[in-house]
Subunit: 115 residues, 2 copies
DNA sequence: GATGATGCTACGTCTGAGATAGTACGACAT
DNA sequence: ATGTCGTACTATCTCAGACGTAGCATCATC
C-alpha cells in the first residue's frame, strides 16, 4: 500500500534523525536510504529531503560539515546534534501517542458494524 | 504525551469518517467526541473540524442533511457516503503501511546504539 | 443580566511536501 | 565525441491542511 505525502507528513524529520542517530550522512544518501527502507511504499522526493535537512539545521537539530565524495567532489554531511537527539526522543513519544489515538478510532469503527 | 497538530495531520478525516461510520452526527458533537476519545492527548480545534467536514462534503465522502437540536434549533448533520466508506478503508490500509514504515525507522534507531 | 455551553461562519496565517526546473561532474556505452 | 545515466545540490513556486482570531446567535443557569 503506497503512502501518500500527506500520510507521512510530520514524520520525515523523525526518519532523517533516526538515520543520523546511527552515523552522519548526506542528503542524497539519506533520501536513498529512506526510500529503500520504505520498501517501495514511500519514495521521498529529493526536494523534500533537502528542505528537511535544511530545516533541521536551521533549528539546531543537526549540524553540517564539509566532506568529499570518493571522486573528490565536495559533499555536505549532516550530523545529529544534542538537541536533535532530544527532539527525536520526543517525537518518538508523540508518535506512540498518535498511533494509540488513531488506532482507537479504527478499532471502534471495526466494532461498530451497525447500520 | 500531547499530540501536536502536525503529528495528527492527515488523520482528521479518518477520525471523522470512523465516527460517521457508526451513525450520522454534526460537527460540534464530532469535535467533542474526537477530543474525548483522544483522552486529553489531542484537543481538536473547532475550526479544524468544521473545515474537515466541509472538505469531506465537497469531496462527496459525506453528505449533509438538516436536523434540529432538542431545543428546536437548526443543526447540520453529516452522514457517511459510499465513497466515504471506501475512502475510509483505503486510509486505514495507508495508515497501517505508514505505521509499519515509521516503526521500522524507530526500531532501527533503538538498535543502533553506536557512537 | 451575566456567564457558559451550544452551534456555526468568515478570514487570515503558517508550514511542510512536492512540482518544476536548473547546474555540474564523472562514468560508461555507442 | 557524444549522449545519457547516476550523483549531488540549488532555486522558486504552489498547494493543502490545521489553526488563530474573531464574530454571531440562542438557550440554560446562576
Amino acid at each position: 500500500m503506497p503512502i501518500s505525502a500527506d500520510a507521512i507528513r510530520g514524520y520525515v524529520d523523525l526518519m532523517v534523525l533516526s538515520l543520523l542517530r546511527d552515523s552522519p550522512s548526506y542528503a542524497y544518501e539519506l533520501a536513498q536510504r529512506i526510500t529503500s527502507m520504505s520498501g517501495d511504499d514511500y519514495a521521498i522526493k529529493q526536494t523534500t529531503l533537502y528542505s528537511a535537512v535544511k530545516r533541521l539545521e536551521a533549528g539546531g537539530l543537526v549540524s553540517s560539515f564539509a566532506g568529499v565524495s570518493p571522486s573528490g567532489k565536495p559533499r555536505t554531511y549532516y550530523r545529529i546534534a544534542d538537541a536533535g537527539l532530544a527532539y527525536f526522543d520526543l517525537k518518538v513519544a508523540e508518535w506512540r501517542s498518535t498511533k494509540s489515538v488513531v488506532d482507537r478510532f479504527i478499532d471502534a469503527a471495526s466494532e461498530g458494524v451497525s447500520q
